[in-house]
Symmetry: C2
Subunit: 364 residues, 2 copies
């Protein structure tokens, strides 16, 4: 039997640096745990535009469709700010999400005990925090038509369309309920049903799926603005949050911040099962390409490494190995090792991206 | 010359309770400072629906159009959750905003020193915080057409439209730049120009207005997700934030939470100048109708009282009197008086809504 295949798309900015450390981890699993992967690498984002004139070629898209899992670094950078909308680095990532139909984006916000003091929130508000935001990722205002900027009389007008179908809402709701069953059995659904009809439908469909298929899970609803507030006030009230593409974008970034550093947080974007039973899947850190520190060896590779741990769990059914990797990260943090982003105002001496990766391999 | 006119729409839930305390303050200004107002009261929201079968009658709308300023309490409650979308209490408020064309919603997030320890954020992150979010209030996805839930084949589909014209963006940008000039001269504009064309136009227009009319103000741009994150991480980096209707809804609630209690935060919604030179204006607390504590005398009237202070400043050119009122609130807090929402986990004995109002009048 051939090895499972991984497509690595390191992308822009700090993407390649953090992905290098993931490659070390992948190497370790092949050598020491007999868990070898066939790894292929390709381009996405600004670097793909620089090389091929498009943020994602059809050939790369094809490879992603056929890979057992895709690992992505980050896309974007100020260099590409003036590019036409359709050529922006982000379009490459959005095309992957859309064409692979990765509708459920799992974003855990977990606070590592060693870092609890590093949050801008008080220790007791965040210590032990462990919630997951399930963000719808293939629809909503990110993809709805009509869209664009056009002229009406003398004026430019910018338009985007928030559009959700019943089945789009139902499938991501199921992902959230399934996940909740394996956790603390609580789902909070967030929308703006008080002002948006798409939110009214969202609430209705989530309620219907709940009643028909998951009556054992505790379900609550919250307006997204109140949700943003409650995340800042008392995040531990939540277990699984399910929300749409745009709200999920904002709420997961806010939740990420609670934990102290965006440099720590992984994500998994999952679609329907493929012929081999594995879900279509893309794993990426929640952080962006951080152009300000790119190429300086300062970036924290942990979010990208933990994204690989999620791949072990969700794509390759290696939950125990995923835990081994997560534990190794915890150990390294407990030992006081810190990349620059994990140092508080008191300072301390940061280690480099490579040193962090090596330290994690050493613990493994 | 006749007195300036105030239309009071206390609304639902805790609205009437907190507004009662504002009426005491208004009374005090009439008696002691020779600043008398002609006050009229009417209904909005659920109570208007209960009485007239609509969340805002045409007659009330007419009164609001003619008042020198409108003071609003809060709308909404679980009792109205099952109402048809067009009859929901929120539609009354949204109609006021839209038909009065109140395009600039000013939401200060200020941290009172006496309350800095009460925030879920660390003291040094929030102490002294003083920022203003300027939220566009009459357009975007709240009002864009087409909208609604319809059937496509067997499926329900929910649609809303995010739509911004150049002039809608330009006028709220001007409000933000003007405000920044009277503060610390810094504006940060937030959108999702990386994924939404309406955000691309937003960024372009804000940049154009800046270059042509306000080159002296410092302007930066941030994606709204990064903005949510930065608000939780280091809110003091901001002075004035300008953003669209929906992002403003979420971001201002998150910002509000930073300050420790939503029960403290006022807002002003301003439109174009009327014939008498005053802007069309509606003042309301950022908090909602809080049905869970309504009618118990527990609500904090300060947000509503500070909204009246904003009315003194922005509608009636009484900046000194506004400051007097704001100082009175600070004094009362410094004296340790607290409504229930302002007590930390350590507890303490809360005072009632009425006692808080009386204490502020006493300090005045
Ligand atoms: C890079 C960008 C297109 C993306 C998004 O808006 O979804 C990012 O912010 C994210 O959250 O993954
Ligand atoms: C009550 C509701 C319609 C309103 C909004 O969404 O604008 C509220 O959340 C606000 O922020 O004023």
């Amino acid at each position: 039997m051939s090895n499972p295949s991984l497509l690595i798309l390191a992308g822009d900015g700090i993407g390649p640096e953090v992905m290098n450390e993931v490659k070390k981890i992948i190497g370790w699993y092949g050598e020491k745990r007999d868990l070898a992967f066939d790894v292929e690498e390709d381009l996405v984002g600004g670097i793909a535009f620089d090389t091929h004139g498009t943020p994602l070629t059809d050939a790369t898209m094809e490879k992603a469709q056929n890979a057992d899992a895709v690992l992505l670094g980050a896309v974007g950078g100020p260099k590409y700010d003036t590019l036409d909308f359709s050529q922006k680095p982000e379009r490459g990532l959005l095309r992957l999400r859309k064409e692979m139909d990765l509708y459920a984006n799992l974003r855990p916000a977990q606070c590592f005990d060693a870092l609890a003091d590093f949050s801008s929130l008080k220790r007791d508000v965040v210590a032990g925090l462990d919630i997951v935001i399930v963000r719808e990722l293939t629809s909503g205002v990110y993809f709805g038509e009509p869209r664009g900027v056009h002229k009406e009389g003398n004026e430019r007008v910018g338009i985007n369309t928030q559009r959700y179908t019943e089945s789009e809402i139902a499938r991501v709701a199921r992902s959230a309920f399934e996940l909740a069953r394996r956790r603390n059995n609580k789902v909070c659904s967030m929308e703006k049903a008080n002002v948006m009809e798409s939110g009214v439908l969202w609430r209705e469909v989530v309620t219907e799926i709940h009643q028909a298929e998951y009556p054992d899970v505790e379900l609550s609803h919250m307006y997204a603005d109140a949700g943003a507030m409650q995340l800042c006030r008392w995040p531990k009230q939540f277990d699984v949050i399910v929300t749409d593409n745009l709200f999920g974008d904002l709420l997961s970034d806010a939740a990420a911040m609670l934990t102290g550093s965006l440099g720590m947080l992984p994500s998994a974007s999952l679609g329907a099962p493929m012929a081999n039973g594995r879900p279509k899947a893309l794993y990426e850190p929640v952080h962006g390409s951080a152009p300000d520190i790119a190429g300086q060896g300062k970036a924290n590779p942990i979010a990208c490494i933990l994204s690989f741990a999620m791949a072990l769990r969700y794509s390759f059914d290696q939950g125990a190995e995923a835990e081994r990797l997560e534990k190794a990260v915890e150990t390294v943090l407990a030992d006081g090792l810190r990349t620059a982003d994990l140092l508080g105002p008191e300072g301390g001496s940061p280690i480099s991206t490579t040193q962090m990766g090596d330290a994690i391999v050493a613990v493994l």
